[in-house]
Symmetry: C2
């Protein structure tokens, strides 16, 4: 595994888990030192993270964790609705009993992970990926993944705060049931509803003052803390 990949995975994990909050500056040199590599591969990792929307380069070309406004988060959820609706629409007629089995087993895994938000979210994403994989549209899956990544930090904050509240999988079981009927527009509606529900939860959470209030409310270029820079 090359240094670039190491830096990429490291930073991606820190950002998506929220350990590096929005607007936190990222020093390529500090990161490199922490990982025992130079700042060059870190820089290249940062470029890739920029392409995924997780990192932004400021006016001074200095990288920091991308801060999304509420408006942008709503927008990104709407983009997800558009992309994932397409995916499930194409997947629906291609659903097989084997895939339904797989979805059932995945629901079990999600159930078992309810105590661990991070693990649950991973299982949850896998659940959706199983469905989208059936669409046989790999480029679309790429787009979906990218969009998902860019709001992951906020979703993670949300489920972390509420400890996975009313989403114990009931809604996901519904989606699996609807898919069994292989009806594209039915599946589409169910999924759109599902995503919009999640969106309202996240947005409400962010508006309720929880979450990174200053980061969301007033995305500043400069950041005070020099500690948690890594």
């Amino acid at each position: 595994m090359n240094a670039q990949r190491v830096a990429y995975n490291h930073l991606k994990h820190l950002i998506m888990s929220g350990e590096l909050p929005a607007n936190a500056p990222i020093s390529a040199e500090v990161v490199g030192r922490a990982l025992g590599i130079s700042r060059m591969p870190v820089r290249e990792a940062l470029l890739q993270l920029q392409a995924e929307g997780l990192v932004t380069f400021g006016a001074n070309r200095r990288p920091f964790v991308t801060a999304r406004t509420q408006k942008e988060i709503v927008e990104l959820f709407e983009i997800r609705v558009a992309l994932e609706s397409l995916a499930i629409e194409r997947a629906a007629p291609r659903i097989t009993p084997a895939i339904l089995d797989q979805l059932g087993r995945q629901l079990d895994r999600m159930e078992k992970a309810t105590s661990d938000p991070k693990r649950w979210l991973a299982r949850h994403d896998e659940f959706h990926d199983i469905i989208y994989a059936a669409s046989d549209m790999p480029r679309l899956m790429d787009e979906i993944r990218r969009t998902r990544y860019s709001i992951q930090p906020y979703i993670f904050m949300y489920i972390n705060a509420y400890k996975i509240p009313e989403m114990p999988g009931a809604e996901h079981a519904t989606i699996a049931d609807v898919l069994a009927r292989r009806d594209p527009s039915l599946a589409r509606s169910a999924l759109a509803q599902h995503i919009r529900d999640a969106a309202s939860g996240v947005i409400y959470f962010l508006m309720s003052g929880q979450g990174p209030a200053p980061a969301i409310a007033a995305p500043r270029q400069r950041v005070v803390s020099k500690e948690k820079v890594l």
Copy 2:
């Protein structure tokens, strides 16, 4: 303007215009020498182009111009339908007389550029951007732009070969007319139809043996010519 940007613009232009065909290897050193810079900024430009889907790194980490299969191109057009439908749907209720004027003037510009495919395509993209800008969804516009870029080379080949055949703007005038009624679902249908028409044209062109037949039919890792490598 820094060296990285120079390399990025240079390569992007070469790829989107088709001067660098699919599967053409790209030597960072050769490009750098041609531009009077070192290969380091070229490398970083290549990473960004990879994020936009125009460049791919092979198994040996060597970059080449991304080759899309017909299946992928169809997929990317379907993604465009999903994203741009959303955009025009949101834009429709926000259309103002000023925007309609702007669209009218843009139609004139397109008309004047019919003799120059490259120029016409640029004006065409601007026409669509005017509409999407009205949606007030900047992140969505980013996604649309990225998706558009990744099939641009094939669209360019198509309109270059047919010298802008039956798309003299009549269909675009229709879209502008529909937008005047500010009806989201009407606008959505008209645009989806428009994109799918373009898609069929491009796909038919590629299937008809014109276009980069070997690149499309059999995307090979290795390439014979060492001439047009730049």
